[in-house]
C-alpha cells in the first residue's frame, strides 16, 4: 500500500466525517453552511491574487520561448506562426490553443524499447483526452451550479443545462458533465496509482485534490439522483450567501453540507497548491512571449554590470606574438 495515496484518502474521509458528524450530531449547520464557505471564498480570492502578484513581482529577464516550429526568417521559408510566434497576436493564438485545447499535451508520445533495439515513440492521446474531458466537465459543472447563485437564472444557463442533459435518461435527467467529470477524475487517479513511473513521482499533494474532487462529484451525484435534497432550501441557503443575508433553511440533509465543505476545502487549498497551474499557465515565459528577440530587444530590468576582458587587455597580452604572426594590432610595440 502506498502511503502517499493512503494519507490523502484518509484525509478526505476525515473531512467527510467532520462535516457529516458536525451537522448530524453537533448541529453545526451555521458553521458548515455559512462561516466556512465565506472563509473559503475569501481565502481563494485573496490567496489566488497574492500568488499571481507574487509571480508578477519577479521580472522576466530574458525572453525564452520554447520554439516549436519554423522560425520567421527568409520570406520564402514557410514560417510556423503559431508555434514560433513572431507577434503579440500570434502569441495570443498560441496561448488560446494551449489553455483551451492543451496543445502541448496533445503532442504527448509514449516511448517504448522494442527488439532490435528500436526505440519507438507512439502518439499517446489518453492523458490529453481525459485531462481535457476533466477540465471541461469541471467547468461545465461549475457554471451549471450558478443556478443556485443567480436569481433570476439567466436564459443561457438554462440552455447549458438543457444541452448537458440532452440524453434525457432517468429522472432527474442525467447530466453528462457530472458523469464525465467522475469518469475522468477516476482515470487520472488510476493512472497515478497503476503506472509505476507516474506513481514514483506522485506526491500526497497529487492524490489529495483527486480524492477531494471525487468526494465532491460523488456527494453531488448522490444528492441529485439518490438521497435527494430540498432543492429550494438549498437555493435559499446559497442565495443567502451571495446576497449577504446568510441563513440556514430547515430540512437540508447532511450530505449537502458535506458537499459544500469539500468544495470549501478545495477552494481554500487552491492557492497553496499545484492547482495554481490555472493561473500559472498564463505566466509561463516559455509560452507567453513572442520569439522575435533578434528583431526586438527585450529589456532585462536588472541587466548586471559585468567586467569584461577588453580587446586592449587582450592585445596587451599577445601583442608581440600577434605582430610576429602578421596580425594587425592597434598599438605597435
Amino acid at each position: 500500500m502506498n502511503e502517499k495515496y493512503l494519507y490523502s484518502l484518509i484525509a478526505v474521509i476525515a473531512l467527510f466525517l467532520l462535516a457529516y458528524a458536525g451537522v448530524e450530531a453537533a448541529g453545526l449547520q451555521y458553521l458548515f453552511g455559512i462561516i466556512i464557505p465565506y472563509l473559503a471564498i475569501i481565502t481563494f480570492v485573496v490567496g489566488f491574487a497574492m500568488r499571481i502578484m507574487d509571480w508578477a513581482s519577479s521580472p522576466v529577464p530574458f525572453r525564452i520561448p520554447t520554439t516549436c516550429g519554423q522560425q520567421k526568417s527568409l520570406p520564402w521559408i514557410k514560417h510556423n506562426k503559431i508555434d514560433n510566434p513572431f507577434t503579440g497576436g500570434a502569441v495570443v493564438i498560441r496561448m488560446i490553443l494551449e489553455i483551451l485545447f492543451f496543445r502541448s499535451l496533445f503532442r504527448n508520445t509514449k516511448c517504448k524499447m522494442n527488439e532490435g533495439p528500436r526505440i519507438s515513440y507512439v502518439w499517446e492521446k489518453w492523458l490529453w483526452l481525459f485531462s481535457l474531458a476533466f477540465h471541461y466537465a469541471f467547468l461545465t459543472t461549475l457554471i451549471r451550479h450558478l443556478r443556485f447563485f443567480l436569481e433570476p437564472v439567466p436564459f443561457l444557463l438554462q440552455i447549458l443545462e438543457k444541452v448537458d442533459g440532452f440524453l434525457q435518461i432517468g429522472l432527474p435527467g442525467v447530466l453528462i458533465s457530472g458523469v464525465v467529470l467522475l469518469a475522468a477524475v477516476i482515470f487520472l487517479l488510476l493512472r497515478r496509482i497503476l503506472i509505476p513511473q507516474i506513481r514514483y513521482f506522485s506526491l500526497a499533494a497529487d492524490f489529495f485534490p483527486l480524492f477531494l474532487i471525487i468526494g465532491i462529484a460523488v456527494s453531488g451525484i448522490m444528492m441529485r439522483y439518490f438521497t435527494k435534497v430540498n432543492i429550494v432550501g438549498v437555493k435559499e441557503l446559497t442565495m443567502g450567501l451571495v446576497t449577504f443575508h446568510p441563513h440556514i433553511p430547515e430540512g437540508i440533509g447532511a450530505i449537502f453540507y458535506v458537499h459544500v465543505f469539500f468544495v470549501s476545502v478545495l477552494l481554500a487549498y487552491f492557492p497553496f497548491s499545484k492547482l495554481m497551474h490555472m493561473g500559472g499557465v498564463f505566466l509561463s515565459p516559455t509560452r507567453n512571449l513572442p520569439t522575435n528577440t533578434r528583431a526586438y530587444r527585450h529589456i532585462n530590468p536588472w541587466n548586471p554590470e559585468v567586467k569584461i576582458h577588453t580587446y586592449q587587455a587582450y592585445e596587451d597580452d599577445f601583442r608581440e606574438k600577434m605582430i610576429e604572426a602578421g596580425l594587425p594590432v592597434e598599438k605597435e610595440l
Binding site: F62, K274, H277
Partner: protein, 542 residues
C-alpha cells in the same frame, strides 16, 4: 565505456522505477556518469568564489561552512529575479508528460533522469524553505530539508541534463527543465562546484578569446594550415582575413571547428565560401582572434558569465567597424545569440541592419541583434542562384540531418539547413518525425558535458539520437549525419562509432564547399577529407 558493449548497455536499461520513493533512494555518484571538478585556476580567472581542489567522489567536498545559507540565499535571489524559475517551481502538476521525453532517461532508465523528478529534486527544497504548504505539511507536500546528500544529488543530476528543452515542448505549462538546471548550476558556481569541462573553456574564452585557449598566432597558424589543405584539394589559395578593420562582415564561429575533425572540414568550408564571395562579389568577411569563439560555456555557468563572454562579439564588431555579424554553425551559441544577446549586450546601434549585399535580402528577423546565421545566409545565396553548385560531387553521401537542440527549441531553424542540404547533395532522408525538428533528440553531450570521463553518460544519453540514425541507415542506407553544431561535430563521431559505426558526421558547410565550383579550381578528384569524389576515382589514381 569500452568495457560495455552496446547490447549490454541496452540490456541494462529498465524503465520500471524502484519500489522505494525517490526521496528515500540515496544517490550514488558513479564514475563514467559525471565530469571532473573544476580546477582552481580556471575558477579564479573570472573571479568566481571558492576555487579549490575537490573531488566529487570524496565524502568531503570542502564546502564553505555556510554553504547551506549560500544555497538558500542563492535560491531566494533567483526566485526574485527570474519569474520563469518561480513559476516553474510552483505549477508543476506532475502529469508525467515529460517523463519519457528525456534522452538521459530513455538511455539510462534512471528515474531521477525523468525531467519531472530532476526538477522535484530542487522543488522539494524550495517547498521546504519557501512555501507555506511545505513548511506545515513537510514530506506530505513533497518537501525535504537541504542536506549535503541533497546537494550532491543535485550536482550529479543537474550535470546529467543537457538543457536541451525537449521536455518543455511536451509540458502543458511549458515548464523548461533547462531553466531549472541553469538556476541549479548558478548556485553550484556560488560554491565553486562547477565542472572542469565548463570552467576551463570559460576561463580560456575569457583570456584568449576561445574555448580551446588557442592564442592569436596559433589560431592564424591553424588557419594557414587549412589554406594549404584547401589548395591541395582545389588548387585555389584562399586568403582568410583576421581582425580586419573596415571589413563588411565579422564572422564568428565556435573554435572547436578550428581544432578537431570533422569540424575542421567545416571550417575549411567557411573559408572556401568566404573566398568565393570575395572573388565573385567582392564581399569582405573577416575572422577575429579576439572574438574567436562562437560558443559560450558561460551559458552553462551563470547569466553573468554568459554576458561577460558574449560581450566580445559586439565589442569586436564595433572596433572593426563592420556592418553586421555572421555566425557559424553552433547550437547553444545560437540560443544565446537568438534569445539573450541583444538583451544582455545590446543595443548594437553601431552596426547596420543586416542586408545580404549580394542578393539585397534584408534579414528583418535579425534587425536588432544584427547577427545572421550562416545557414540563413547561404540559403539566401542559393535561392538567388548566387552559388555555382555541383551536388553530384556529394553523390556518395546519403545524408540525414540532426537538428541541434538549441537551434531547434531556442530558435526554430529547421528549413534553412534542409534547403541548403537539398541543394548541395542529392540524397537526403529525414529521420522519423518524433526525432527531428522541435522533437529532436540531444546528442547527449550538450551543455558542457562533452568531456571524456563521462563517456558512459554521453553514450547512454545519445542512444535515442543514434537509434533514429540507425533507423534511416538501415532503411535508406544513410551514411552521413549532417549537423549545424560544433559540439555535435565533436561528440557525434564517437556516438556513431559506438552505436552505428557505418555513419560519419559532417557540418553543413563542408558539404557546401565540396559542391561549390570555385573560380579557377583545378579538376577536383577528392573532397576536403581527401576521399575520392564520385566518378573521379580513376583520375585520383593517376
Amino acid at each position: 565505456m569500452a568495457n560495455l558493449k552496446p547490447d549490454e548497455l541496452i540490456a541494462r536499461i529498465d524503465y520500471t522505477p524502484p519500489s522505494t520513493g525517490w526521496m528515500d533512494t540515496p544517490t550514488v555518484i558513479r564514475a563514467g556518469m559525471f565530469c571532473y571538478a573544476a580546477k582552481p585556476p580556471s575558477v579564479e580567472t573570472l573571479g568566481l568564489p571558492y576555487a579549490r581542489e575537490w573531488n566529487p567522489l570524496d565524502d568531503d567536498w570542502k564546502l564553505p561552512a555556510n554553504w547551506k545559507e549560500i544555497v538558500l540565499e542563492g535560491l531566494r535571489d533567483r526566485l526574485e529575479r527570474f519569474r520563469s524559475f518561480k513559476v516553474f517551481m510552483d505549477i508543476c502538476v506532475r502529469c508525467g508528460a515529460c517523463a519519457d521525453k528525456c534522452h538521459f532517461f530513455i538511455g539510462t532508465g534512471d528515474p531521477k533522469n525523468m525531467p519531472v523528478v530532476r526538477a522535484e529534486l530542487l522543488r522539494s527544497v524550495y517547498r521546504n524553505d519557501f512555501t507555506k504548504a511545505g513548511k506545515i505539511l513537510g514530506k506530505l507536500a513533497g518537501a525535504r530539508e537541504l542536506t549535503l546528500d541533497v546537494l550532491k544529488e543535485w550536482w550529479y543530476y543537474f550535470f546529467q541534463c543537457t538543457e536541451c528543452r525537449r521536455c518543455s515542448v511536451f509540458c502543458p505549462y511549458g515548464i523548461d527543465t533547462a531553466e531549472i538546471t541553469m538556476m541549479a548550476r548558478e548556485i553550484f558556481n556560488l560554491l565553486g562546484l562547477n565542472i572542469d569541462w565548463i570552467a576551463t573553456p570559460v576561463s580560456n574564452c575569457y583570456k584568449t578569446g576561445n574555448h580551446m585557449g588557442i592564442q592569436p598566432h596559433a589560431f592564424k597558424d591553424m588557419m594557414d594550415f587549412f589554406v594549404d589543405e584547401i589548395e591541395e584539394v582545389t588548387g585555389v589559395r584562399v586568403e582568410p582575413q583576421f581582425n580586419k578593420k573596415g571589413a563588411d562582415i565579422l564572422f564568428i564561429t565556435p573554435s572547436g571547428d578550428v581544432f578537431g575533425d570533422p569540424g575542421t572540414f567545416t571550417a575549411m568550408g567557411y573559408m572556401i565560401l568566404h573566398h568565393y564571395l570575395k572573388v565573385n562579389y567582392g564581399l569582405s568577411i573577416t575572422w577575429s582572434t579576439y572574438a574567436s569563439e562562437g560558443g559560450n560555456f558561460g551559458f552553462f555557468t551563470s547569466n553573468e558569465v554568459m554576458k561577460r563572454l558574449n560581450a566580445k562579439m559586439y565589442a569586436e564588431a564595433k572596433r572593426l567597424g563592420v556592418k553586421w555579424i555572421l555566425g557559424g554553425e553552433c547550437g547553444h551559441m545560437w540560443r544565446v545569440i537568438n534569445q539573450y544577446m541583444a538583451t544582455m549586450n545590446g543595443p548594437a546601434d553601431f552596426l547596420e541592419e543586416p542586408v545580404n549585399p549580394i542578393t539585397g535580402t534584408k534579414f528583418e528577423n535579425a534587425k536588432v541583434t544584427k547577427m545572421v546565421h550562416i545557414a540563413e545566409f547561404t540559403a539566401d545565396l542559393i535561392k538567388h542562384g548566387k552559388l555555382n553548385l555541383d551536388p553530384k560531387r556529394n553523390d556518395h553521401l546519403k545524408v540525414t540531418f540532426h537538428d541541434s537542440c538549441n537551434t531547434s527549441r531556442g530558435m526554430g531553424m529547421f528549413d534553412e539547413p534542409r534547403y541548403v542540404i537539398k541543394n548541395v547533395c542529392n540524397n537526403f532522408y529525414d529521420m522519423p518525425i518524433n526525432c527531428i525538428r522541435e522533437q529532436t533528440f540531444c546528442c547527449g553531450s550538450g551543455s558542457g558535458l562533452n568531456a571524456s570521463e563521462d563517456m558512459e553518460l554521453r553514450l547512454s544519453g545519445g542512444l535515442p539520437r543514434a537509434n533514429a540514425v540507425k533507423y534511416v541507415h538501415e532503411k535508406h542506407g544513410v551514411n552521413m549525419l549532417a549537423c549545424v553544431c560544433a559540439i555535435d561535430r565533436a561528440v557525434l563521431p564517437p556516438l556513431m562509432q559506438y552505436w552505428v559505426p557505418e555513419v560519419d558526421v559532417t557540418g553543413l558547410h563542408e558539404m557546401v564547399a565540396n559542391a561549390l565550383i570555385i573560380p579557377g579550381e583545378k579538376k577536383k578528384t577528392v573532397n576536403l577529407r581527401g576521399e575520392d569524389l564520385p566518378g573521379m576515382e580513376d583520375e585520383a589514381d593517376e
